[in-house]
Symmetry: C2
Subunit: 120 residues, 2 copies
DNA sequence: ATTATAGTTGAATGTGTATTCAATTGTCAA
DNA sequence: TTGACAATTGAATACACATTCAACTATAAT
């Protein structure tokens, strides 16, 4: 029997299994949210920034030197980390000091444990 | 004092902190390996494949219908998952049935726990 | 006020990669 | 042996995104 679903170039070999899996698998929206979350940690620069902040609060300039990219690059990445609520910051004079937003982030960095995955 | 490190457009604000972090932060190689690992889960298609296999063994055609992409696309992604040792397969006639390689992968998919991160 | 520096932002660029298409292999059935 | 179909593979394409550059804001010091 030929596949009924568009965009597909094949037959359904095991209709029952596909249907069963379709019912149990998380909805697309949730899978998207989770993959987006993993995406943040899939970039060396972001991961290095997070790991650095796990050790110490740092300003943009410090991070730029540490990671060896421009301040601009760091700033762009910090923006993404901010939007994901992974880092927080405080301003002091001309400097902006960044740090991890909470201990959940520490757990992810140090142990690879994403507790919040059940709420995504 | 101007930054001594190439590629950097800024001064070192807190030399002591940068030096201390540099000592404690994992080496670049390890950060690369970890980010590469996260990268696999940062793609909706791969994540959906893994989640499907967490529910049931499936062949390429089944997965193509489920995810709604070509068999070719699934096959390409399965190759990456194979190389990462996340899935295994068995051949039966014309079909190739894929499944998760072990329970560690189940833990990652279901609970977001990457036990192996300490060995990376 | 003026200068210097920290940080942010938007545009442009280059790279990486997911997907599709077309061609190929391998297996089964007629 | 021929036809049908599952799966793989490589090339081409399109898109996403990390980085840089340049321009700008803001703060501090002289």
């Amino acid at each position: 029997m030929v596949c009924k679903i568009e965009m597909c170039d094949c037959n359904v070999i095991h209709k029952e299994i596909v249907e069963a899996v379709k019912e149990q698998i998380p909805e697309d929206r949730r899978i998207s949210v989770i993959s987006e979350f993993y995406k943040i940690f899939s970039d060396s620069t972001k991961l290095k920034i997070l790991w650095a902040l796990d050790i110490s609060e740092m300003c943009v300039c410090d991070l730029a030197v540490l990671v060896n990219v421009t301040k601009s690059a760091i700033s762009h990445q910090l923006k993404i980390l901010k939007e994901a609520n992974l880092v927080k910051f405080r301003k002091e004079g001309k400097n902006v000091y960044y740090s991890l937003s909470d201990n959940c982030v520490k757990e992810i960095i140090e142990k690879g444990v994403i507790h919040t995955i059940n709420n995504m």
